[in-house]
C-alpha cells in the first residue's frame, strides 16, 4: 500500500459548512420495503429517453429490462421488483424543471421475484474487452450516481482520447448527505472492484480516490479493501465545500484544471463516483442491473435520519411515511443537499437513479429568502468562489440583462455551488440570478436557431415563388407572342409593354391573395396563440350575442 500521500492542491475559495452528517450515519444501511407501486421514469439520465419494451398489463420480474436504450447516449431501465405494469403515462419526477415525464408504473406483487440472470455475470472481468464492459454497463442502465446522471459507459470509452488518470470521487462534500460514506463503510470491496473494472476498461495508468478527511471509517474501509497490487492512491482532501465538485476534486488531486467549458477527458482524466463503481461491480461481476441505490433520508423533519437502500421508482412519500415523518411538520423537501439540492414539488415523485438525498426540513427550520439589499461590492463572494469568478459583476450584468457582458465574465463556468449566496451580506440570491441568466441565454440561442431556420425557409420559399412566377410569365408571353404574331405583326411595342406590366401587377396581386403573408411557416407556439385568440374571439362573440 502507498503510505506517502501525494500533495493535495488547494482550490480557491470554498466554505466550511456545518456537516450534519453524523445524524444519518449512526445506523447501518436499511433496505427499504417494497412500495405498492413503483414509478419508473424513462428519463433518469442525461440523453435520450429509454424506449419502453413492455405494455400495460404485462407481468414483469425484478431486474427485467422494461425500457431499452435509444441511441448511444441513453440508459436502460429495469423493473426494481416483480409485478404488473399498470400504466405508462406522464408523472411528476424529481427534477429542477418540474416537468412531467413518461413513467412505467408497476403494481408490485410483494414477491420480489427476480428474472433468471439476464445479464451475464463474470468474476473475471480481465477477460472482457473494454467494449464488452461498456456494453454491459449500458445494458445494466448504469449512470453517474453522484450527480447529473450521465450514462457511465460513455465515460469508460478511451478510444476518443487516451485516459491517464482515473479518479474516484469519494469526497461527498455537501452537508447532510452521507449515502456515499455509508456505502464505503459497508461495501468498500464492491467499490474497489468496480474501480478495478473501470480502470481495466479505460486502461488508465494512474488511479486515485479522493476522500474528505472527515470520513475516517470510510477511509479505513477502502484502505482495507485495496490490495497492494492494485496500485491505487487513496488521498485525503481537506473537508471544505465543494471539495467533491468534479473539477475541484480533479484539481485537488492532480493540480490540473479541466479546461473551461471542456471536459476532464480533454486533459486525460475521467472521474466517477463511488456509487457508480459499486453499481458497475454488481453489473459486471454478478450480472445485476441498476435497480436500487442508497439514499440518505435526513433533515430536521425526519425523526430518525438514516440511509436506505431504495428500489428505484419508490415514491418519496412512501419513504417519508416509512421513516415516520409527519407531513404537517415538513416545511420543504429538497432532493440533494442544502446547497445544490432543488425543491421537490410533489412528494409522490419517485426515487430515481440520481437521487442521493431526500432532505426534509421541519417548517420551523426552513430558511426563507431574505429581502435582498443592493450589492455593496464587498467581494465576499469573490473570496469564496471556487471557480474564481466575480459573482458581484455577474449579478450586476444579470440584473441589467446584459447577456454578452455576463458571458464575458464567464457565467457558464459557474458551477452553481451556492457559496457566494451563503456569504453575501446583502442576502442576494446570486445563484438564482445566474441560473436565470443561463436559461435565458439558452432560450435565446434556441430561438435564434429556430428563427434562423425559419428565415432560411422563408427565403427559399420566396425564391421558389419568384421562379414559378417567372416561368409562368415566360410561358404566358410565349403563348401570347405566338397568338399575336398572326393578327397584327407591327403592334406598338410600348402598348405591349404596358399590357405586360399590367398583367404582371395583376399576377402579383393574385399571387399574394392566394398566399396571405406570414401565415405559413408558423411555429407550433404561434399556431397555439392564434388558436387561442380565435377561441377567445369566438367566446366573446358568444358572450356578446347571449347577453
Amino acid at each position: 500500500m502507498n503510505h506517502s500521500e501525494p500533495k493535495v492542491f488547494d482550490f480557491h475559495g470554498g466554505l466550511h459548512l456545518e456537516e450534519h452528517k453524523s445524524i444519518s450515519t449512526s445506523r447501518p444501511i436499511e433496505v427499504a420495503p417494497i412500495p405498492p407501486a413503483l414509478v419508473l421514469p424513462l428519463v433518469q439520465h442525461i440523453g435520450n429517453p429509454a424506449k419502453p419494451c413492455v405494455k400495460v398489463g404485462d407481468k414483469v420480474l425484478k431486474n427485467q429490462c422494461i425500457a431499452n436504450i435509444s441511441g448511444h447516449i441513453s440508459a436502460a431501465i429495469h423493473a426494481s421488483s416483480s409485478g404488473t405494469v399498470i400504466a405508462i403515462e406522464p408523472r411528476s419526477i424529481p427534477h429542477p424543471s418540474n416537468l412531467d415525464v413518461t413513467c412505467i408504473v408497476i403494481e408490485t406483487d410483494g414477491r420480489d421475484i427476480a428474472i433468471e440472470n439476464k445479464l451475464i455475470g463474470n468474476e473475471n472481468f480481465q477477460s472482457l474487452t473494454s467494449n464488452e464492459i461498456q456494453q454491459r454497463i449500458q445494458g445494466a442502465g448504469i449512470v453517474g450516481l453522484g450527480g447529473a446522471g450521465f450514462p457511465s459507459h460513455i465515460k469508460l470509452n478511451a478510444e476518443e482520447h487516451p485516459v491517464d488518470t482515473l479518479i474516484l470521487n469519494a469526497a461527498e462534500c455537501e452537508p447532510y448527505i452521507s449515502c456515499d460514506d455509508m456505502l464505503m463503510r459497508e461495501h468498500a470491496d464492491k467499490i474497489i472492484n468496480g474501480l478495478r473494472i473501470m480502470r481495466h476498461a479505460l486502461n488508465a495508468k494512474d488511479c486515485l480516490i479522493g476522500i474528505e478527511d472527515n470520513k475516517i471509517e470510510a477511509y479505513a474501509a477502502l484502505q482495507s479493501a485495496m490490495r497492494d497490487s492494485d496500485n491505487i492512491q487513496l488521498v485525503r482532501v481537506p473537508t471544505r465545500y465543494p471539495a467533491g465538485g468534479e473539477r475541484q476534486l480533479i484539481y485537488s488531486l492532480t493540480g490540473k484544471q479541466p479546461p473551461s467549458q471542456g471536459r476532464p477527458l480533454d486533459i486525460g482524466i475521467v472521474c466517477h463516483n463511488v456509487g457508480t463503481a459499486a453499481a458497475i461491480d454488481d453489473a459486471i461481476t454478478r450480472g445485476i442491473p441498476l435497480t436500487s441505490r442508497i439514499v440518505t433520508i435526513t433533515g430536521s423533519g425526519i425523526p430518525q435520519p438514516r440511509n436506505m437502500q431504495v428500489r428505484l421508482g419508490t415514491p418519496i412519500q412512501f419513504l417519508l411515511n416509512h421513516c415516520h415523518s409527519l407531513e404537517e411538520n415538513i416545511g420543504t423537501i429538497l432532493i440533494g443537499g442544502p446547497m445544490m439540492g432543488f425543491k421537490l414539488e410533489d412528494s409522490r415523485s419517485p426515487i430515481t437513479k440520481t437521487c442521493n438525498c431526500v432532505l426534509a426540513i421541519h417548517q420551523r427550520d426552513v430558511i426563507k429568502p431574505a429581502t435582498p439589499l443592493p450589492c455593496i461590492r464587498c467581494g465576499e463572494c469573490t473570496d469564496v468562489c471556487p471557480v474564481n469568478l466575480l459573482p458581484q459583476q455577474l449579478y450586476w450584468h444579470a440584473r441589467a440583462q446584459e447577456f454578452d457582458a455576463i458571458q464575458d465574465y464567464s457565467l457558464f463556468d459557474c458551477i452553481e455551488c451556492g457559496c457566494c449566496d451563503v456569504v453575501c451580506p446583502s442576502r442576494i440570491p446570486l445563484v438564482q440570478y445566474f441560473r436565470f441568466a443561463k436559461t435565458t441565454i439558452w432560450q435565446q440561442e434556441r430561438d435564434k436557431e429556430k428563427s434562423d431556420k425559419a428565415r432560411i425557409r422563408h427565403e427559399l420559399r420566396l425564391k421558389r415563388l419568384e421562379r414559378e412566377k417567372r416561368e409562368k410569365r415566360e410561358r404566358h408571353n410565349r403563348k401570347k407572342a405566338a397568338l399575336k404574331k398572326k393578327p397584327d405583326q407591327d403592334d406598338d411595342p410600348k402598348k405591349a409593354a404596358i399590357l405586360a406590366a399590367m398583367k404582371r401587377v395583376q399576377e402579383k396581386k393574385s399571387a399574394s391573395d392566394t398566399n396571405p403573408a406570414n401565415t405559413d411557416n408558423l411555429s407550433a407556439e404561434q399556431q397555439a396563440k392564434i388558436d387561442e385568440a380565435d377561441a377567445r374571439r369566438k367566446q366573446q362573440n358568444k358572450d356578446t350575442t347571449s347577453s
Partner: protein, 341 residues
C-alpha cells in the same frame, strides 16, 4: 423558476458588518475624547442626527422602505467617519452641512447604498474643505499641551456659539506645522526642536494624534483579522506610504517628513482601515484592491508633500474611486480552467 435559497444558516448581513466597523472605531474615538476633549462626541452626535434625518426624508420622498434602509447602518457609518475626519472644534453647521451633502449627493442621489461611485464621507469632506477652508483647518490641540483643561462648556461654546474661545483650545497639527515651516524656509529638524512647535511631536508623530492613530490601527487590525474588510486595501495603502516616505526621508531628511510621521500623523490609519475600505466605491477584485490601495497611498503622500493641503487622503480616495471601475476591468481573476493552471 423555483425559489431556492441554500438551506444553510448564515450570519452575514450588511448591518452586522457596519456594526462591527462601528465597534472597531471605538478605541480610536476613545483616545480622541481622552486626549482632545468631548467635542468630537458632539460632532458624531450631530452627524448621526443629520444623517438619519436626511436619509429618512429622502427615502420617504423616493417611497423606499425607511426603517429597513436606515438599519443597514451605512448612513450612520458615513456620518461617524465624516465627524472623525473633520476638526472636532468646527462649528456645528459645518458637520451638519457636510453630512447632509454626503448623504444626499454622495449616496442617495445615485440610488442609495451600493450605487454610489464615490465615498460619501470623503465627498462631504472635500466639499467642506473647499467651501470652508478656515473652519476645516483649525484643529484642536491635545489637552496636555493646553494651559488649562477645556470644560464641557468650552466645547459647547466652540461648536454652537460661533467659535467662542476657540483660540484657547486650538493648535497646529504636526503635518501642518511642518508644511508651514518648510514654506518659510525652515527645514524639518529645526522645526522639530523649535520652541514654538517642538513640543507638538510626541514620540511617534505628534502628541495626542499618535495615540488616536494607534487606536484606529487597533480597531483596523480587528477588522482585518476577522476578515470584515479586504486586507489588500489597508496593507497596500500603508505599504505605499511607508515605502515612499522612507525613500524620500532617506534622500533628504531635512525636507521630507519621517515615515512615522506619515503613518501615525494625520488621517492615515483612519483612512487606511475605515475610509479606503468602503467597499462600494473601492475596487472589488482582489488584485485590483492592491492597486487601489497603492494608488491612495501614493496620491496621499504626493499631496501631503508637494500639494497645497497638509492632508491628501480625501482627494486620494476620490481620485481612486474614479479609477476603480477601470482597475476592476483590468484585474479580473483568472477563472478556473481558463489558461494554464
Amino acid at each position: 423558476m423555483i425559489i431556492n435559497t441554500p438551506q444553510v444558516s448564515s450570519s452575514a448581513s450588511v448591518s452586522r458588518l457596519m456594526l462591527h466597523v462601528g465597534y472597531a472605531l471605538v478605541p480610536g474615538t476613545l483616545a480622541y475624547v481622552w486626549l482632545f476633549g468631548v467635542s468630537v462626541l458632539i460632532q458624531i452626535l450631530l452627524a448621526c442626527l443629520t444623517a438619519v434625518v436626511t436619509e429618512a426624508i429622502v427615502l420617504v420622498l423616493r417611497k423606499r422602505p425607511v426603517i429597513k434602509t436606515l438599519t443597514d447602518g451605512s448612513a450612520l457609518l458615513t456620518a461617524v467617519l465624516l465627524a472623525l475626519a473633520i476638526p472636532s472644534i468646527a462649528p456645528w453647521w459645518v458637520i451638519v452641512l457636510g453630512t447632509f451633502f454626503a448623504i444626499l449627493f454622495g449616496k442617495q442621489i445615485y440610488g442609495g447604498i451600493g450605487y454610489n461611485p464615490f465615498n460619501p464621507a470623503m465627498l462631504g469632506y472635500v466639499m467642506l474643505l473647499i467651501s470652508f477652508p478656515l473652519e476645516m483647518t483649525r484643529w484642536p490641540a491635545a489637552i496636555s499641551l493646553l494651559e488649562q483643561v477645556p470644560t464641557f462648556q468650552t466645547s459647547i461654546d466652540v461648536i454652537f456659539n460661533s467659535g467662542l474661545g476657540i483660540d484657547t483650545i486650538s493648535g497646529a497639527t504636526p503635518l501642518d506645522s511642518i508644511k508651514t515651516q518648510l514654506r518659510a524656509g525652515i527645514d524639518i529638524p529645526t522645526t522639530l526642536i523649535s520652541p514654538q512647535f517642538g513640543n507638538l511631536f510626541g514620540s511617534l508623530a505628534g502628541v495626542g494624534w499618535e495615540m488616536v492613530s494607534l487606536g484606529f490601527l487597533l480597531g483596523g487590525l480587528y477588522l482585518l483579522l476577522t476578515r470584515r474588510i479586504a486586507w489588500q486595501i489597508p496593507v497596500a495603502m500603508l505599504g505605499a506610504i511607508a515605502v515612499l516616505s522612507s525613500l524620500f526621508y532617506l534622500i533628504d531628511s531635512n525636507q521630507y517628513a519621517s515615515p512615522l510621521l506619515h503613518l501615525f500623523g494625520g488621517a492615515t490609519m483612519l483612512g487606511a482601515f475605515f475610509i479606503a475600505t468602503d467597499p462600494v466605491s473601492a475596487a472589488t477584485t482582489p488584485r485590483g484592491r492592491i492597486y487601489y490601495g497603492i494608488g491612495i497611498g501614493v496620491i496621499c503622500y504626493v499631496i501631503r508633500t508637494w500639494g497645497n493641503y497638509p492632508e491628501g487622503l480625501a482627494f486620494a480616495v476620490l481620485l481612486m474611486n474614479m479609477a476603480a471601475p477601470t482597475i476592476d476591468h483590468y484585474t479580473r481573476p483568472r477563472v478556473f480552467g481558463q489558461g494554464n493552471g
